[in-house]
């Protein structure tokens, strides 16, 4: 799921960008991307193919959000904005960050409510354009919800 969203290239509202998109590669310290509450999550990312667009800031965050029938809710666990002058001249930008995961909420695949955890790398270009890459990971071991069998 995360890779699909990364390939599509989403702007600030999860909207597909027209034209060339940078390639954001994210590597988790656990290839299975499965963590438990309290674990330390470490991430490395690399941004390629900016096509001459100048990056003026990068935001990386660890967030949870809800999906499903209800309006989307968002909780930010970790947030960092990088505005380094060296970003402007680089054709390839790389970075890393780490955060300790909280006790809750756990990832949950319900019927009308889903809770997802993800790492987001948001790249801000000159000209008020931005590009976000989202990489989902699992926290906890809650099995997907199933409807109870109908009563006889």
């Amino acid at each position: 799921m995360s890779d699909l969203q990364n390939r599509a290239g989403l702007n600030r509202d999860g909207q597909e960008r027209v034209g060339a998109s940078p390639q954001v590669d994210v590597q988790f310290d656990r290839p299975a991307r499965r963590y438990q509450p309290g674990d330390r999550l470490a991430v490395r990312y690399r941004i390629d193919d900016c096509d001459g667009d100048r990056i003026h800031a990068i935001e990386h965050s660890v967030v949870w959000y809800t999906e499903g029938k209800g309006e989307e809710d968002l909780g930010v666990h970790f947030f960092q904005r990088v505005t380094d002058r060296s970003l402007r001249s680089s054709r390839v930008v790389a970075g890393d960050f780490a955060a300790s995961l909280p006790r809750s909420p756990l990832s949950y695949e319900g019927l009308i409510v889903k809770v997802r955890w993800c790492v987001r790398v948001r790249v801000f270009f000159d000209g008020s354009r931005d590009f976000v890459s989202e990489h989902v990971f699992e926290m906890g071991d809650v099995p997907p919800a199933r409807l109870p069998p109908p009563e006889a």
């Binding site: 909207q15 029938k69 209800g70 309006e71 947030f79 756990l106 319900g110 019927l111 409510v113 008020s128």
Partner: protein, 450 residues
């Protein structure tokens, strides 16, 4: 520079409005509210507040002799085609200024203006011709004189309250829109403090300290149980229905009484307002209907008898074992009394201009199923059982528009009365990854016995 799109794609392939345009519209709306508040505030300040302030602070005191009395009449078309008259008592006064002796009609105030001529005449009666009284004149326009000073607090309140509310709502909304402009949703969600102050209605539901998105459970352990550790509070839809019926009956009949008193006074004065009387008929029927509905709901809510649920520990944790006690009071025979532990998902979403909430029960474990229960008149029916929380259970979850709620649900079918459902919420914590003395899951009474 490229303009933002009007529509953007949201997750689930739903199209929604673009956030930039939404923020622009939000800012524009609140900016107009702010401007409106400032404009009306300035109008009221210059038209009402400032003249009154000048009378009390700038006018010079003198002594005046009352020479004549009169009523100033103003007429205006309100509504169009109808002439409305207002009356203002005025006095002609001779008084001494620094430039010499002057004569002028007193300036009327908004507080003295009335639509009732008799009332205006009564206002004049207290003044005697030829008598002397203190007066105050405007040093900038000495022909402007008043015999009374003071503040009209009602007008000041209106002058401050209405524009003040517009300025407050418009200003906070405009600042909120400007603060969110050009910032990512993560940045906005990460910044608290001023954002919460600017948008107090958007506060997320209270959560447990150290457990983000797990609902607060302090209110669930306020009451000690008689047998087990805690008595759980009830959260029943029928109680809210009862409150709703009660409020409706109260407000509707209050309006009805006001209309009826007005109609009665008209009748006593020899006038009959047929429109009012025609309105009173259906209003009376709805008012009586509201009272009947409320009394019926009150009867149904109280006739079944109280249901109490006690639990051996709280909050619960996955894998834990707990004792639970169901107690049912009341008279008559309960053909069936059931209690189950349920997991409900709740999603709130907007559909057009409506806000809807959908609930789905996705997990249910029966705990108690009793048939033909007859509580004794002096005591209550009690049954006690144990249950376990699955080790891989989802914890309780709450966010502004979504929730995963655990609850103990009691369903009853009585002999003659309608079936009832009573809900007792519980909170399940996730397994604690940092067990300590303060936060470690407590073992239930039942577990401790083993």
């Amino acid at each position: 520079m490229r303009l933002p799109r009007f529509f953007a794609k949201k997750r689930g392939h739903r199209r929604t409005g673009a956030r930039e345009w939404g923020a622009f519209g939000d800012g524009l709306f609140h900016g107009m509210l702010l401007l409106g508040g400032l404009f009306f505030g300035a109008l009221l300040a210059t038209g009402v507040a400032a003249p009154e302030w000048r009378i009390n602070h700038d006018y010079i005191e003198s002594t005046g002799t009352i020479l004549a009395k009169g009523l100033a009449r103003s007429t205006r078309e309100d509504p169009p085609g109808t002439v409305a008259e207002t009356w203002q008592p005025r006095l002609r006064v001779r008084y001494t200024t620094v430039d010499g002796v002057r004569e002028a009609w007193t300036r009327g105030s908004a507080a003295q203006t009335t639509t009732d001529r008799e009332s205006a005449l009564r206002g004049l009666a207290s003044w005697k011709l030829g008598s002397q009284s203190k007066c105050w004149y405007d040093p900038a326009a000495p022909d402007t004189v008043v015999l009374e000073r003071g503040y009209n607090w009602w007008l000041w309140l209106l002058a401050l309250l209405l524009p003040g509310a517009l300025v407050l709502i418009g200003g906070s909304g405009l600042v909120r829109a400007l603060r969110s402009w050009g910032r990512s949703e993560e940045c906005r969600a990460a910044s608290t403090g001023l954002a919460e102050l600017l948008d107090p209605l958007a506060h997320p539901p209270p959560t447990s300290p150290g457990h983000p998105a797990v609902p607060s459970w302090d209110d669930l352990v306020n009451s000690p149980g008689t047998i087990l550790k805690y008595r759980l509070p009830i959260e029943s839809a029928e109680h809210w229905t009862l409150v709703g019926f009660g409020l409706f009956a109260l407000l509707w009949n209050a309006v009805l009484v006001v209309l009826a008193v007005g109609a009665g006074l008209d009748l006593m004065g020899g006038r009959i307002d047929w429109w009012l009387f025609a309105l009173l008929g259906p209003f009376l029927v709805i008012g009586i209907g509201g009272i009947v509905l409320f009394v019926r709901s009150l009867f149904l809510a109280t006739v079944v008898g109280p249901t109490q649920v006690e639990i051996s520990d709280h909050p619960l944790v996955p894998g834990g074992q707990y004792d639970v006690l169901l107690a049912q009071g009341g008279t008559g025979v309960f053909r069936r009394l059931q209690m189950s532990l349920e997991l409900e998902e709740q999603a709130t979403f907007r559909q057009g201009t409506d806000t809807r909430t959908e609930r789905v029960t996705i997990w249910c474990r029966p705990l108690v199923d009793c048939r033909d229960v007859s509580p004794a008149p002096e005591s209550r029916f009690e049954t006690r059982t144990s249950f376990g929380i699955p080790a891989d259970a989802m914890h309780s979850f709450t966010s502004p528009h979504n929730a995963v709620q655990w609850r103990l649900v009691v369903r009853g079918v009585t002999d003659r009365r309608p079936a009832f459902v009573r809900v007792f919420p519980v909170v399940i914590f996730p397994q604690d990854p940092f067990p300590s003395a303060a936060t470690a899951p407590r073992r239930s009474d039942a577990e401790a016995v083993r």
